[in-house]
């Protein structure tokens, strides 16, 4: 449960306990004090200041595109340095006057202007180097701002820019881009030390996207089939989920487990869509061996730490084995095998609902129902579209969707209500 939600729930409970004479008002005050102040929320002025900074940055870019020709080279360079200097000077003054929210907005604007200036210098001197080089320079400057000031908004921008840089290099070279690990570790360390949840979320998402893209390029370079790729995705997802459970009650545990679940659904959904593989190379088998070892290690450690039920471990092992066998089974079994994998996918949703109810995590239940709905849609579109004519297809589909939506939502609410009542 998020901390803010917990405090609000605690306040409601305390009122009920006082009314029932379970605790005294003095005890209630002590309880609330030890629970800590409510989670600080970003103020409206701060959000407005950030949005204003972003709008100003876009305005600067548009100005660059539309009005640069009227200015001489020296004038342009003076404007470049001047706007950036004025922005950072404003930030410094705002920090000195103890107005950190507005100062952070000014820092974000400064980093955005730094990027605009890189583009404008490139334009002024007719440079047309590979575009990721420019993004890298922007990202480095932004990361320096984030770490030196320090500035969370700048760190967020740096995370996005380094991701964009890595994607740019990968798309230009068609090769996985491992140097991304260097800025990633630096930014991760900063976000971890600052205990900045939003930054850690952004980094987790960046890492998942980076992994998926780079592994896809790695597999494509070897002419392996898509099923080979999706098998590796599933194994990585199993390993991620397992490793999140090797300890209990640590910061970010809930979020990491949710990312693991999302990765499981995403990867297994792709796997069941794939068409198998005619040939399997030794290189792929070696990779499977490595990732399967990670999965085994994670599951064993999670079981030892008593943070994973036997049933959960069984599901993870089954997913890994199904993924490893997929290239062969789907190739040999054809449609029958694909439908079998669809059934396994639905089994995964059932497990996720059970896990969510057991661990009081509604995200698991909601994601499982979403995944189930997407699966039903996919089955409907891929099977009945060939059997029914178009009008009946849409009418029947519409009815099935409406009835399914009502039934699913009712079941979901009943499950959550029943679980809430028990606890």
């Amino acid at each position: 449960m998020r901390r803010g939600a917990y405090i609000r729930q605690l306040k409601r409970d305390i009122e009920a306990w006082i009314a029932a004479s379970v605790i005294t008002p003095q005890q209630a005050e002590e309880m609330l004090r030890t629970a800590g102040p409510p989670e600080t929320r970003q103020s409206i002025p701060f959000i407005l200041a950030m949005l204003g900074a972003i709008l100003l940055a876009f305005g600067a870019m548009t100005y660059v595109a539309a009005n640069w020709q009227g200015l001489g080279k020296l004038e342009r360079l003076i404007i470049l340095g001047g706007t950036m200097t004025a922005t950072y000077a404003t930030a410094a003054v705002l920090f000195a006057r103890a107005m950190p929210a507005y100062a952070q907005a000014a820092v974000l604007l400064g980093t955005a202007l730094f990027g605009v200036n890189i583009m404008l210098v490139g334009q002024t001197y007719h440079m047309s180097a590979q575009w990721p080089d420019g993004i890298l320079l922007w990202a480095v400057g932004t990361a320096i701002a984030a770490l030196v000031v320090p500035s969370r908004p700048a760190l967020a921008l740096a995370i996005l820019l380094f991701g964009l840089w890595s994607f740019g290099v990968t798309s230009l070279t068609d090769d996985p881009h491992l140097p991304y690990a260097i800025p990633f570790v630096v930014l991760l360390t900063a976000a971890w030390i600052w205990k900045w949840r939003a930054g850690l979320h952004l980094l987790a998402i960046s890492f998942l996207v980076w992994s998926a893209i780079n592994l896809a390029f790695f597999v494509a370079n070897r002419d392996w089939d898509e099923t080979h790729l999706f098998t590796l995705y599933v194994l990585i997802a199993v390993a991620i989920f397992g490793f999140t459970k090797i300890r209990s009650k640590y910061v970010f545990e809930t979020a990491l487990t949710r990312y693991g679940l999302f990765a499981l659904f995403f990867s297994f959904f792709l796997l069941q869509l794939s068409g198998g593989a005619k040939e399997t190379e030794m290189g792929w088998l070696i990779m499977v061996g490595v990732f399967a070892s990670f999965c085994t290690l994670a599951i064993v450690l999670a079981l030892i730490s008593d943070n994973l039920r036997l049933m959960d471990a069984g599901v993870l092992i089954a997913l890994a084995l199904l993924a490893i066998a997929a290239p062969y089974l789907i190739e040999k079994g054809g449609y029958v095998a694909q439908y079998a994998y669809s059934a396994f996918y639905i089994g995964l949703t059932v497990w996720a609902v059970d896990y969510g109810l057991e661990n009081d995590d509604r995200f698991f239940v909601n994601l499982a129902f979403t995944a189930f709905g997407i699966e039903v849609l996919w089955i409907y579109f891929t099977t009945f579209s060939t059997l029914l004519d178009q009008a009946i297809f849409f009418i029947v589909g519409g009815l099935i969707l409406i009835v399914s939506a009502v039934v699913l939502e009712r079941v979901r609410r009943q499950l959550l209500t029943a679980d809430g009542g028990e606890s």
Binding site: M61, V64, A65, A66, W68, Q69, G72, K73, L74, L77, L80, G81, M84, T85, Y88, A89, A91, A92, V93, F95, A96, P100, A103, V107, G110, F114, N117, I118, M119, V121, G122, Q123, T124, Y125, H126, M127, S128, A129, Q130, L137, V140, G141, I144, A145, V148, V149, P150, L172, T173, D174
Partner: protein, 210 residues
């Protein structure tokens, strides 16, 4: 107060990075070897960077079989193209994976580029039918036709020329009538920068230091 000082430090670092970009370019424009090349521009539009003309040079498309030096290149590799001043214009004579140690003479320069695409041409001549052949012919300097070798598309970092909005069309017309060339400045390390844009033999635009 300490944070305010940090902000000033960040500003100094970022201005330093921008300053290095400008300084590096100024050095090339000031001391680089001038190399004039004919071009074939087109006129696309960039969302954030205003109007610009894409410049394609004869040395943007080279074949390893028609040139001396190294033969093995892959996409994204660095390539140093040796240019020699001919009677009419500068011509590519060799390709190298690394910058040659031999100092360039007044009529010789090495330009650094990056392989954008690399693909093999078949050694087997395409059959000639009534419909003709789609296989492009490569003319060697000695007049022979050759269809083999590694075809390289090379970028030198001087493929964009930014112009005031609307002027791209006029330059495109000059391209169509074969009236345009570019004077590059090439540094000793092979980095090239656009020094002049020349139309009808006249300087259309010259890059000053400031």
């Amino acid at each position: 107060m300490r944070t305010a000082v940090n902000v000033v430090l960040v500003l100094a670092i970022q201005l330093g990075l921008l300053g290095y970009m400008i300084w590096d370019r100024m050095l090339i424009l000031q001391a680089g070897v001038p190399v004039e090349l004919s071009v074939e521009p087109v006129d696309p539009r960039s969302l954030f960077r205003g109007d610009y003309v894409i410049l394609t040079y004869k040395i943007s498309q080279l074949n390893t079989n028609t040139l001396e030096g190294d033969d093995t290149f892959e996409r994204n590799d660095l390539v140093y193209v040796e240019l020699v001043k001919g009677l009419e214009e500068w011509e590519a004579v060799a390709l190298y994976q690394e910058l040659p140690a031999t100092p360039a003479t007044d009529n010789q320069v090495f330009v650094k580029g990056r392989v954008h695409r690399a693909y093999l041409r078949s050694n087997v001549a395409a059959p000639v039918t009534d419909l003709g052949t789609d296989t492009p012919q490569i003319d060697r300097p000695d007049g022979e036709s050759d269809q083999s070798g590694l075809e390289l598309s090379i970028k030198y970092g001087v493929e964009s020329y930014f112009v005031p909005e609307g002027e791209g069309r006029a330059l495109e017309d000059a391209r169509n009538e074969d009236r345009m060339s570019v004077l590059l400045a090439v540094a000793k390390n092979g980095t090239a920068a656009i020094k002049q844009l020349i139309v009808d033999g006249e300087v259309y635009h010259e890059e000053g230091l400031f």
